[in-house]
């Protein structure tokens, strides 16, 4: 499905701020995998997602999606295969446009856009149904400007937009981190529902170890730009937060004391 072969990515190369974000990373995702990615600040989690999405291209190595080399494909050309939800709820939607207009943009992901009307009545029926499934009451507010929605509502809408055209791979970049705990919970439930309903291959970055264990069938822990722990199946479902902390403690040789990780 998705293959990372020996990827390197360094930011600000040859400057004092040089930062090796991804260091010889190889990864293989199988179809239908729901992978959670954890790691401290600067471990390379978001860079990993951005490399897949095409925000950056790697310094070396190859990225294959379904056998196609997408290493140097521009961001907008890969988008047809990728559904993305960002950490910042403002990032995934256009605030000054209506809910249905946002959905109409997402509905055409990977399709040719021309001078046909931007939204049809037939689509609106589909959107109403899908919004109804979210259970947030948005189906009655289809012509409301997205800027008037709450962060949780916007994130739920972004999730719907990311999956409106079934993506080959769903990329979730700490998509609940900016939400309050109960909203985060609700958005995660929605995520789980949508992922299982469509059997989507998913990569979910999170800071929250409990979430990382609770969701998905495979867990990846990153440290200094590489994968240091990769579990799946039963081994993963038996995992405890303390196990993960211990694991972290060993690889970081005791220096690991990220308050955010401890809090979670």
């Amino acid at each position: 499905m998705l293959r990372f072969n020996g990827i390197y990515k360094t930011f600000n190369q040859n400057t004092v701020n040089e930062k090796r974000a991804i260091n010889d990373l190889s990864l293989h995702l199988r179809r239908g995998d729901f992978v959670t990615v954890i790691g401290g600040n600067g471990a390379g989690k978001s860079t990993l997602l951005n490399l897949i999405a095409g925000v950056y291209s790697p310094d070396s190595g190859r990225i294959l999606l379904d056998g196609d080399d997408i290493t140097n494909l521009p961001e907008y050309r890969r988008a047809k295969d990728l559904g993305r939800v960002f950490q910042d709820p403002m990032m995934g939607t256009a605030a000054n446009m209506e809910i249905q207009e946002n959905l109409a943009l997402a509905y055409r992901r990977g399709k040719r856009r021309g001078l046909r009307w931007g939204i049809t009545n037939k689509e609106k029926q589909i959107y109403m149904e899908k919004l109804n499934n979210l259970g947030l009451g948005l189906e009655t507010r289809m012509s409301t400007k997205v800027g008037l929605l709450s962060g949780g509502q916007r994130q739920a809408l972004t999730l719907l937009m990311a999956t409106l055209q079934e993506p080959k791979l769903l990329l979730l970049d700490e998509h609940t981190a900016a939400l309050d705990p109960s909203t985060a919970e609700r958005v995660l439930e929605l995520t789980q529902d949508i992922v299982s309903a469509n059997n989507l291959t998913t990569l979910m970055v999170t800071h929250n170890m409990k979430q990382a264990i609770q969701y998905g069938n495979r867990l990846i822990m990153m440290y200094e730009g590489n994968i240091i722990f990769d579990v799946s199946g039963e081994e993963k479902s038996n995992l405890k937060v303390t196990d993960l902390l211990k694991k972290f403690e060993t690889v970081s040789k005791g220096s690991f004391a990220n308050d955010r990780m401890i809090l979670s």
């Binding site: 907008y76 992901r109 001078l115 979670s264």
Partner: protein, 318 residues
């Protein structure tokens, strides 16, 4: 009577400038891009249109069309400078505007061109009508009437076209790009192309407006574009203030048309009160600065407040 006549003249002038304001609206409000190319492309349209009529003795309607095309190209250059060569947005516009000054001089071969004694668009239409004497009205009324109608027809065609275009799939993508280009890229759209297209359309309309203004006022000047962006913004802002409840895109554009007319009427009235013409630019600048800042001040934000510092958003407590 004199007052009515100057309001009448101002209305006609406002209508011929509507397309210009719509062009500025596309970049400033839809693309969220303060594009200074317009000052060059406006004069570009004027230069081309004047040379077509005076030097080449060609049909003025053809000159409008060529002006439109040249504006499209000018806008595309700004777009390429910004997206492909990564030059900051304002500077890209300034560079194109700056370069266009020389190009406009080359086109005209002189700093200004008078259309007097040549067949301008207005005279071409007037020739087909009965004379003012036959109609028993002042020549000024007839001529201004022609200008008013031409301006109105062009404005309405432009509004109808833009309403259609920004409702299409590509038009929606341009609107969304001005709003949040990250999201648009994530939906598989080449945002660079959208920016180039938006800038191109905007400047095409602006050059068309420059040609139209030249045809109605009877001359083109290489400096005719200087500071016009402020007039465009004034029209937009006046329209938005008067039609603040407008949700519909067509109504918003009609509001700009009204804004453009009202701006000209205000100017005409103030000039009648005896204000020096040379002070008009300062006056307009102050009005636009106030109009753009008052909505922000009304949101109860202190004028020079620091940016709000957001609390860290990643802390989870479960």
């Amino acid at each position: 009577m004199n007052l009515l006549l100057s309001v009448y003249g101002a209305t006609a002038q406002g209508l011929t400038w509507t397309i210009f304001a719509l062009g500025v609206f596309i970049t400033f409000r839809i693309l969220n891009y303060a594009d200074l190319t317009c000052e060059g492309s406006f004069a570009l349209g004027g230069s081309i249109s004047s040379v077509f009529v005076v030097g080449l003795k060609l049909n003025p309607i053809l000159s409008l069309f060529v002006a439109l095309l040249s504006g499209l190209a000018a806008g595309a250059i700004t777009g390429l400078l910004h997206t492909k060569l990564k030059i900051p947005s304002i500077l890209s516009g300034i560079l194109t505007m700056f370069g266009l000054y020389s190009i406009n001089l080359r086109i005209m071969g002189q700093p200004n061109t008078s259309l007097v004694g040549n067949k301008s668009l207005i005279f071409m239409i007037k020739d087909k009508l009965p004379t003012a004497a036959e109609l028993g009205i002042m020549d000024f009324i007839l001529q201004t009437g022609v200008v008013l109608l031409v301006g109105l027809i062009f404005s309405l065609i432009a509004i109808a076209f833009l309403y259609w275009f920004f409702g299409t799939e590509i038009g929606s993508c341009i609107r969304a790009t001005g709003n949040n280009d990250t999201m648009v890229r994530a939906q598989g759209v080449n945002t660079d192309m959208m920016k180039i297209a938006g800038l191109s359309f905007s400047n095409g309309l602006i050059a068309l407006a420059g040609a139209l203004v030249t045809q109605t006022q009877g001359y083109a000047d290489v400096g005719m574009g200087q500071g016009v962006i402020v007039i465009g913004l004034a029209s937009i802002v006046i329209g938005e203030v008067l039609f603040f409840k407008a949700k519909n895109f067509a109504i918003k554009m009609l509001a700009i048309m009204c804004g453009s007319v009202i701006y000209r009427i205000i100017i005409a009235l103030i000039l009648r009160l005896g204000l020096d013409t040379n002070d008009m630019k300062l006056f307009t600048a102050i009005v636009v600065a106030l109009a753009l800042s008052i909505p922000n001040m009304l949101k109860n934000k202190p004028l020079f407040a620091r940016k709000e510092v957001k609390p860290p958003i990643n802390v989870t407590k479960n």
